[in-house]
């Protein structure tokens, strides 16, 4: 049972880590919680599902879903958030929640509310490791998550665009002064964060199904992970996501499965009160 829960935890944690990246990247450039990120996760999965129905090859369908997620994030930014730059953060928050209501119900309107299973080439195969059986799709999730993390790390640190995104997270206004188009950076940030979020949704689709409200709790967990890792800290978010998944699985297995979702919330509270800069964050001096 221990190993079972550990594997479940790592798989869940990979998903949370991928989700957390989206929250953290958006926080970096705009300092607000994009509550509609969970719907990007759902949207990506649905588009993949739809492409599969059209007999698209499975890899193309997955890539299509990721691209659709990126587009969704980009459009969200361009159509709503960009027009609210001067509005208080609270307004952005409400707008984000409004968008998430719209997207959830739009998905239901288009595709219906029935949960559907996304195909995975690996799902029906188990691998025996010792006397443990591990589903191949789980291994696929873990490997892909690691690949994405490395790729993202390389992008941020090795490419010019990545460095610009990083600079923007320090000070978006300064970026503008340096001659980098801030709006362009914000758009790119949304697109990348959303692409990763959509990927999370696609990976989860074969296991926990695809349905309009799938993003709600995934979003909350991803967001919790991003706070755990320290808002704005990308590697921190990844590790925190993994940690959250494992803690949650053990709590559900050994304490109570009904309160599974409460675990993340308790951790969130604990972090906020005891270490608001996150597990991996640095203390920032506030100037009076």
């Amino acid at each position: 049972m221990f190993v079972d829960q550990l594997i479940n935890g790592i798989v869940l944690g990979s998903i949370y880590a991928l989700m957390a990246i989206g929250y953290t990247m958006v926080w970096n450039v705009l300092r607000f919680i994009n509550f509609a990120h969970g719907e990007v996760y759902m949207g990506g999965a649905f588009v993949s599902l739809y492409l599969l129905l059209l007999d698209t090859p499975i890899w193309l369908a997955y890539i299509g879903g990721v691209c659709a997620g990126a587009l969704l994030g980009y459009l969200m930014e361009k159509m709503v958030y960009m027009r609210m730059r001067s509005a208080p953060k609270l307004n952005l928050l409400i707008a984000a929640i409004g968008i998430s209501i719209v997207l959830q119900n739009l998905a239901q309107y288009i595709w219906g509310a029935t949960p559907e299973r996304l195909t995975s080439p690996f799902l029906s195969k188990n691998i025996a490791i010792g006397d443990m059986m591990i589903n191949q799709h789980y291994i696929f999730i873990i490997i892909l998550t690691i690949v994405v993390m490395i790729a993202l790390e390389l992008f941020i640190n090795r490419t010019l665009m990545g460095k610009a995104v990083q600079a923007a997270s320090q000070n978006i206004n300064a970026t503008q002064l340096m001659g980098i188009n801030a709006n362009k950076i914000i758009s790119i940030t949304f697109a990348i964060g959303s692409a990763v979020g959509a990927l999370a949704g696609i990976l989860v689709g074969p296991v926990f199904l695809v349905y309009p409200t799938m993003g709600v709790f995934a979003g909350l967990k991803g967001f919790t992970a991003s706070v755990m890792g320290g808002m704005g800290n990308i590697p921190g978010a990844m590790i925190a996501g993994l940690l959250l998944g494992i803690i949650e699985s053990f709590a559900a297995g050994f304490i109570s499965s009904g309160y599974r979702d409460a675990v993340a919330m308790v951790i969130l509270l604990f972090i906020l009160l005891v270490r608001p800069q996150g597990i991996f964050g640095k203390v920032i001096q506030q100037k009076v």
Binding site: R31, F32, I33, V80, R83, M84, A87, P88, K89, L90, N91, L93, I94, A95, I97, G98, I99, S100, I101, V102, L103, Q104, N105, L106, Q108, Y109, V216, L220, F223, V227, S256, G258, Y259, D261, A262, M265, V266, L268, L269, L272, L273, P276, V288
Partner: protein, 341 residues
């Protein structure tokens, strides 16, 4: 002197208008419309409560749906299991909600801005999960139904039973008016002004001797108590409570009412609650599109009226006030008098 007379008229007008409100049911034959009006009244109470902490004190909570739920569940549990009436349950609901509100405020209000938002979200979700999972007490996902109606009120030979929605209206109206009155009394006092000062500039407020944390916690507690009262009324009005009503969506709905109506404004709370309740009910005609349109409405409103509907009037009122002063100044200077009133 003329101004005084003007004020007197206003006061009489206001009293007449409020009195007229009580006779509103006479003009409404459709009980469903009455039901919606009653629902609006409950939401007004919720918005007033949330506005106290969000609008007047500047501390944002997206967990107030949980306080609404605590009030409702306390009334439901006591009403269903012990047969207590609304008159006992209401004060108990308020007390329990205030107590929990105080505890949460005490822990959470050390945080600021987005971090407070996150913490209230976490608290709200945890409380909702308790509603959902503490099956022995709360009925779990099934909720509690069969909550008794308030007992018949007897005034001499007159009897006011609670059977139809028309019967609930005066009761709910009284509580809403009471809520408005208390809100007004609070905001026009040292305490209320302290809250506004905290909203505007915490550091400056503290330098004026305002105990910032204590004031915030107090206001948070009152705000929770308002929602608790609304919850108890809701439970005895609808006779059923179930957890999903008090999930994150409810917290968002109340906050949206406050934002769309206009923060820090009693009229705003009333307008916000009315718009969202009516649109949500009207949209029941198209169940498949209901939430889609509702969501769009929220996004559009928040994009185009960032200060809420009362914000529009506030701007024009401000301008009016200033224009008035300017005109007076000019007049006074013309007459060569010193400008003093």
């Amino acid at each position: 002197m003329g101004q005084f007379k003007h004020r007197g008229f206003l006061k009489i007008g206001l009293i007449l208008a409020v009195a007229a409100l009580f006779f509103l049911p006479l003009g409404i034959s459709n009980p469903y419309v009455m039901y919606i009006i009653n629902l609006i009244l409950i939401y007004v109470l919720l918005s007033l409560g949330l506005d106290l902490i969000v609008g007047y004190t500047g501390q944002v909570s997206i967990g107030h749906g949980a306080f609404f739920g605590i009030g409702a569940y306390v009334a439901a549990i006591l009403g269903k299991n012990l047969g207590f009436s609304l008159w006992i349950n209401l004060p108990l609901s308020i007390a329990v909600t205030a107590l929990i509100g105080f505890a949460i405020g005490f822990i959470g209000l050390k945080l600021i801005e987005e971090y407070l938002v996150m913490a209230t979200l976490a608290f709200g979700t945890i409380i909702w999960l308790v509603f959902l999972n503490w099956t022995d007490l709360t009925g779990g996902p099934m909720g509690i139904s069969g909550i008794p109606a308030p007992p018949t009120i007897k005034l001499g030979s007159f009897e006011f039973p609670f059977i139809q929605y028309h019967d609930y209206y005066p009761l709910l109206l009284i509580f809403v008016l009471l809520g408005i009155l208390i809100t007004r009394l609070i905001i026009h006092s040292g305490f209320g002004r302290a809250c506004t000062a905290i909203r505007e500039d915490e550091l400056a407020a503290q330098a004026m001797g305002i105990p910032v944390f204590k004031t915030k916690v107090m206001m948070f507690t009152i705000s929770a108590a308002f929602c608790g009262a609304a919850g108890a009324l809701y439970a005895h009005f609808l006779h059923v409570v179930s957890p999903e009503t008090f999930a994150f969506g409810m917290s968002v709905t109340i906050l949206t009412m406050v934002m769309i109506g206009g923060q820090g404004s009693i009229a705003g709370s009333i307008i916000g609650a009315s718009i969202l309740t009516v649109s949500s009910e009207v949209l029941r005609e198209t169940p498949e599109l209901r939430m889609l349109i509702y969501g769009l409405l929220i996004v559009i409103m928040i994009m185009f009226f960032p200060k809420g509907i009362m914000g529009l009037f506030k701007i024009s009122k401000k301008r009016l006030l200033q224009r008035n002063i300017q005109a007076k100044k000019a007049a006074v200077e013309k007459e060569g008098l010193s400008y003093e009133q």
